[in-house]
């Protein structure tokens, strides 16, 4: 090994600087769809680097060694000063901890002297070797490339903590079938007389005659106009479709009327027209 002196010094210089210098990893948060303003993150947001306490770590200090934490800085980034050194290259899990926003986890591989070898996206519940998009890869030819690394964090989504309370709106009222039924009934009550007035007299006469034959109106009339008034109205008999009806109806009408009181009038008409 006969190296020229200047080169030897240079090598020595590089060696000493690698052992002295500490590496810095900075994670920035770019504005994104779920998080348009990264400055709005609460102060408790932080990033963690977690790894396995490998056997090479001295016992006891492992708690400090294999988990480091970086608080959110004023500029909206996380900085890990002095990345941990170990006796062998180690891979770390980089998480950004925020209750409200979900960040993609990263895999960070560090060399023994604490420089960054590479950063990839990783997927929870997937094999550790299943690396996603590459965020950073150290340049093997340039020895200092993994010393000061900046990567961008990726916001996946935002958690919705709250339940939406349904607010009262008049439109929602009209979606209610009961309200709709009531409105239709109301329309008939007010609209029918108008309709009758507009009918031509012949047809009106026919309609009236027919509706007189209808059991409901007939019964009502019977009840009100007949002998003793409401007192001797036989409700049970009326409901059963028997009893003293002023006008006898065709059997078909009876069946129809039994089917439904509300449609009695129209069905009566149908029978008649048949």
């Amino acid at each position: 090994m006969a190296l020229p002196n200047p080169l030897r010094f240079l090598l020595l210089f590089i060696l000493t600087t690698t052992t002295l210098a500490t590496s810095i990893l900075t994670v920035t948060i770019p504005p994104s769809n779920p998080l348009p303003n990264p400055n709005s993150l609460p102060a408790g947001t932080h990033a963690t680097l977690t790894s396995l306490p490998s056997s090479s770590h001295p016992e006891g200090s492992s708690g400090q060694q294999h988990k480091s934490k970086a608080p959110l800085s004023r500029s909206g980034s996380f900085t890990f000063h002095a990345l941990p050194k170990s006796s062998s290259p180690t891979s770390y899990l980089l998480d950004i901890r925020s209750a409200e926003y979900i960040f993609a986890p990263y895999r960070v591989d560090l060399s023994a002297d604490g420089t960054v070898l590479g950063i990839w996206e990783t997927f929870r519940g997937n094999p550790w070797d299943n690396r996603g998009a590459e965020k950073f890869l150290a340049d093997v030819s340039a020895p200092g490339s993994g010393r000061d690394v900046t990567v961008e964090a990726k916001v996946l989504s935002r958690r919705g903590f709250y339940e939406e309370r349904s607010t009262f709106s008049p439109l929602a009222l009209f979606k209610n079938p009961m309200i709709l039924l009531a409105l239709v009934a109301l329309g008939f009550t007010f609209g029918m007389p108008k309709l009758m007035e507009n009918m031509d007299p012949e047809m009106r006469a026919e309609f009236e005659k027919q509706s007189r034959a209808s059991p409901v109106s007939g019964a009502a009339r019977g009840a009100i106009g007949g002998g003793g008034g409401p007192a001797n109205f036989d409700l049970a008999g009326w409901m059963a479709g028997t009893g003293n009806r002023p006008a006898a109806a065709a059997p078909a009408t009876e069946v129809d009327s039994a089917r439904g009181g509300a449609t009695g009038r129209e069905s009566g008409g149908a029978t008649r027209r048949r």
Binding site: P42, A43, G44, H46, T48, T50, L52, P53, S62, G63, Q64, H66, K69, P71, L72, S73, R74, H81, A82, L93, D95, R97, S98, A99, E100, I102, P105, T122, F123, R124, G125, N126, P127, W128, D129, R158, R159, G160, F161, Y162, E163, R165, S166, F168, T189, E208, R212, S217, A220, R221, I224, G225
Partner: protein
């Protein structure tokens, strides 16, 4: 407190409430009745039908699990949060006006537990909190916090860690570590330099260690600008600065006795030593504790000490050699207990200072002025002597200096220039305890002044007094609560007692008793009637969700704090403190358990003593003296009269109890022991884990853990019978990189099930819980093989009697099984693991009255300071893997398994709240089946109402009473309008006919 200890130590012994089994009649060899029994093998035994009904209920309940989140308008109504900092330290608490927030100033503090926080002085709510105890040194003091008006950042230093935080939002500006050195003093540099950047000020920090080092740190980056090393071996004491110099004050031990104070002046730009002055103080000063005050950043920085007999005060203006002697005028005739110097910390303020003397029963103060030219110190005036204590606070407005004095009765403000009282306010609520220290902010408007003062009470509470009015109180002593327990007032007990009396009397006697009771109840009728209109009105109009106090949601929680106090919090009134009493005679104590009975709560500290308190008033009812040191407390319930017993470090009960009962204890050397209550010498069984393993935790089923259904109805209407053993204990043991979970029968000590997880990071928290017929645990797993996943895992296991539906395995038609007599049947265990995004440090389960409501697994997430309740259906281990559920499974409510379980935002019980340092979660049933009360403590206090299956038995706020009323009114109006019309029409019809 952001990172709790990695291994949660196991403190309380699992207390097995065996009266739920209800079969202790067979005394020597207790057998255990199943909670429900299947008596025959008919096709549809009645139990099965009932069970299906229950199953339908359960299924209905499980149909709505996704919508359990809190409504935004219920925040602060159903939940409460005491966001605590810890007791503020006197030298690191101040009012400060961050530059961008216009006029409003904020209250900043660094607590004794190294939490930095900004408090809104208006209502006492914290704007931000940061834990700065990130030093690698284990035993560092609380640290220091410094700031200066007009600067947007504050600087804190604890141990070897110096950091600067944005004053407005608590985000990091810079941080720096100085390995193997620990901080002694910290000051911001106020240079009269016109070129200085106003947004940030450089920091001067003094470190001790092998040698004293003064460093100037850049205000923007925290980098070291220069450092001055003191290799002389003197004790580094403090740094101080004037507008032109930085002073390094060290203590030089004299040859024979006493200590000399050495002042070294440094050039602020280069850090070079310019001159050195040694003061002749060796006759008075014996060490750092004898120096009363070193004024920092004042126009005239001072060093003040007193002679040994406390007759003469010696004052030196830093930088000069001259020492002025001032006589202490002590007319009280009592020995002076403390001398405290108060001086402004602003560079431009007048060079005035106040000396506060306190004796046993009185206090007074004297104000001195310093002449900057001659360096002479003259007495200006003295403040009168009052009986009792008083505290002083200094504040300044521009150059004017104000002194605020709080005594037992009043708050006064004086100017440093003259003795005239500018403002005097009597205290509206006289303090129950003495104040320790205070900070004040004085606003002067012409002649009148207004003052608000934040004072720390002896109890650790922090109070803001504005012009004599108590604005808010922060119960900082609650931080780091040691134990808590739900308590019941004895009013309900009264009714229960009355009903019991009626049950035992003859029919006639019971009837008379009942009539009498009802007549007596009529007393409350006028009151009730008076309240009625108001109640109806408020229930319709007010914004209140509903007043559910009558349904048991308003419960008292008894909390024991580190400083020997007991607090009662009312969960119905947003966790308001009902009472607090000092219970322990000592400064601190270590409470092992709080056991409550209706009306009373008993606190058990570790010295074997006990204190019983009245739950409603806080009065001490009974006190027993200390005996032996105990490790935990066991409760043996026997027909409603629980007897408690201390457990010593060996895991043995201190004395035998009469009567039947069993309990399980753990010992310091990592064994789990089972005991019969009548024998405290020899345990019934003993369990030790495999060699190389250490027990870290043991949990038992909650004492209130009703099971609504004895089986699980599958989609094809067959039933998987649950393995329901009331005496289950889940023991967690860790090896080097593995965790083993043992499921034991507590009566016999038989091992029912065991499982080992490899590749576990044992320094990370391993949480576990057990309820009903399932248990859950979580840990951080590392890839053992390269193809494995790395991350936190949550494992859930369910216990069944047999793997085959409609089959009870070896039990057959047996109604009972015994832990001891027969062969104990082993459970069939179905497990599933989920990968979760973050660690869980503590687990709990929601408890409801009947157990019909689905349970939530309550998990505390220490990395995001949140509390989540994971609905059980998501954690079903029978979720089909790698395929879609079949029609039968879908009917059962099973969804396809996915290995990654992301916490849904709707599961967050703590929503946006930053709940830090939770180490324990309590749950309690209410009278409403849907609702379970949750109370979490450890550092912060957080309480909420959990409704895991939605509030199905409450008309919530979504039910608009107003809308209902409007509909009824509208219908009524419609009838009124339509009735005449119809009548008219009918009459017309008759005429037409």
């Amino acid at each position: 407190m952001a990172s709790p200890p990695p291994v949660v130590p196991y403190t309380a012994a699992p207390q097995l409430d065996i009266t739920t089994a209800g079969s202790l009649s067979i005394h020597p060899h207790p057998c255990f009745l199943r909670q429900s029994s299947a008596s025959s093998n008919d096709q549809f035994p009645p139990e099965v039908i009932i069970m299906r009904l229950q199953a339908t209920l359960l299924w209905l309940a499980s149909c709505v699990p996704s919508a359990v989140a809190i409504y935004p308008d219920e925040v602060n109504h159903v939940d409460f949060h005491h966001a605590l900092l810890g007791v503020p330290t006197p030298e690191s608490t101040f009012f400060l006006r961050p530059p961008s927030s216009s006029n409003a100033s904020l209250l900043y503090t660094l607590s004794e537990d190294s939490l930095v926080g900004a408090i809104n002085p208006r209502d006492g709510s914290p704007l931000w909190r940061q834990n700065v105890s990130r030093s690698s040194q284990p035993d560092h003091g609380p640290g220091l916090l410094r700031a200066s008006d007009g600067v947007s950042s504050i600087v804190s230093a604890v141990g070897d860690y110096v950091s600067s935080w944005s004053a407005l939002d608590g985000k990091l500006v810079w941080e720096n570590w100085f390995v193997d050195e620990s901080l002694v003093d910290l000051e911001l540099l106020h240079l009269a330099d016109p070129h200085a950047v106003p947004a940030s000020k450089d920091t001067v920090a003094l470190f001790g260690g092998k040698a004293g080092v003064v460093r100037r740190l850049d205000g923007e980056s925290g980098d070291v600008k220069w450092e001055y090393k003191d290799e002389s071996g003197e004790t580094p004491f403090q740094v101080s600065s004037s507008s032109t110099e930085v002073f390094y004050i060290s203590l030089q031990s004299g040859l024979l006795k006493g200590t000399k104070v050495k002042v070294t002046s440094l050039d602020p730009v280069t850090g070079r030593q310019t001159r050195q002055v040694t003061l002749n103080s060796e006759s008075d000063v014996s060490g750092p504790e004898s120096i009363l005050f070193v004024g920092a950043n004042t126009a005239s920085p001072l060093i003040v000490w007193a002679d040994k007999s406390q007759k003469i005060l010696k004052v030196n203006v830093i930088g000069s050699k001259k020492v002025s002697s001032l006589n202490i005028e002590n007319t009280s005739g009592q020995e002076i207990r403390s001398v405290v110097i108060h001086a402004p910390h602003q560079l431009n303020s007048l060079p005035h200072f106040l000396v506060h003397y306190q004796t046993e029963s009185s206090s007074w103060a004297e104000v001195y002025h310093v002449d900057l030219n001659t360096e002479a110190v003259t007495k200006a005036y003295s403040l009168p002597r009052v009986q009792g204590w008083s505290v002083f606070a200094t504040s300044n407005k521009d150059a004017n200096v104000f002194f605020t004095r709080i005594t037992e009765a009043e708050l006064t403000v004086v100017s440093s220039a003259s003795h005239g009282i500018l403002g005097r306010w009597p205290l509206q609520t006289p303090p129950k305890e003495r104040f320790l220290h205070a900070v004040a902010e004085v606003v002067a408007k012409g002649e009148s002044v207004a003052v608000r003062s934040a004072a720390v009470l002896e109890s650790g509470d922090w109070q803001l007094i504005r012009n004599g009015q108590n604005e808010w109180t922060r119960y900082e002593a609650l931080a780091g609560a040691q134990a808590a327990s739900w308590a019941e007032a004895d009013t309900q007990e009264d009714l229960a007692h009355q009903l019991q009396v009626e049950g035992h009397e003859s029919i006639y006697g019971a009837y008379v008793h009942r009539v009498k009771r009802h007549v007596k109840d009529l007393e409350h009728l006028p009151e009730w009637l008076k309240e009625l209109p108001k109640r109806i009105l408020t229930s319709i109009l007010s914004d209140e969700v509903s007043n559910l106090d009558g349904f048991g949601v308003s419960k008292t929680v008894i909390v024991a704090t580190r400083n020997g106090r007991v607090y009662a919090l009312d969960s119905g009134k947003h966790g308001a403190v009902s009472w607090s009493v000092k219970v322990s005679q000592g400064e601190t104590w270590d409470v092992k358990a709080i056991i409550t009975q209706p009306g009373y709560a008993t606190v058990y500290p570790d010295d074997g003593s006990s204190v019983t308190l009245n739950v409603t008033s806080g009065g001490i009812v009974k006190r027993t003296s200390a005996t032996t040191k105990i490790r935990s407390v066991a409760v043996v319930s026997d027909d409603g009269t629980p007897s408690t017993i201390g457990i010593n470090g060996k895991g043995a009960p201190l004395e035998p109890l009469s009567g039947p009962g069993f309990f399980v204890t753990s010992s310091d050397d990592g064994r789990v022991l089972g005991w019969a209550a009548s024998n405290n010498k020899v345990p019934v069984w003993e369990f030790a884990p495999a060699p190389g393993q250490k027990i870290v935790r043991a949990v038992a089923r909650p004492s209130h853990d009703p099971v609504a259904s004895i089986g699980k109805v599958l989609g094809d209407r067959s039933v998987l019978y649950k393995y329901l053993n009331p005496n289950l204990v889940l023991v967690t043991a860790v090896g080097d990189s593995s965790a083993t979970f043992y499921l034991l029968d507590a009566v016999s000590g038989n091992l029912l099930y065991t499982t080992t997880q490899e590749g576990v990071d044992t320094t990370q928290p391993i949480a576990s819980t057990i309820s009903e017929n399932w248990f859950a645990y979580s840990f951080l797993a590392h890839p053992v093989h390269p193809s494995d996943a790395m991350g936190y895992q949550l494992v859930i296991s369910e216990l069944y009697e047999s793997p085959i539906p409609n089959d009870r395995g070896p039990l057959g038609a047996a109604a009972n099984f015994s832990s001891i007599h027969d062969l104990l049947p082993l459970p069939h265990v179905i497990s599933q693991a989920f990968v979760i995004p973050e660690p869980i440090s503590h687990m709990g389960v929601t408890e409801t009255r009947q157990g019909i409501t689905i349970r939530q697994l309550l998990c505390y997430l220490p990395s995001t300071n949140s509390l989540v309740g994971i609905p059980r259906p998501f954690l079903d281990p029978r979720r089909p893997v790698d395929r879609d559920p079949t029609a039968n499974e879908a009917e059962e409510g099973l969804i396809r398994y996915s290995p990654y379980l992301e916490f849904d935002g709707k599961w967050y019980l703590s929503h946006v709240r930053d709940v830090i340092g939770i180490s324990n979660i309590l749950s309690s049933p209410t009278l409403l089946e849907s609702t379970s009360l949750v109370f979490a403590f450890g550092w912060d206090i957080f309480g909420t109402r959990a409704t895991p299956s939605q509030a199905f038995d409450i008309l919530g706020k979504g039910f608009s009473k107003l809308q209902l009323l409007a509909t009824v009114v509208a219908l009524g109006v419609g009838v009124v309008f339509l009735a005449p019309m119809v009548r008219r029409k009918q009459v017309n019809m008759i005429w037409n006919a």
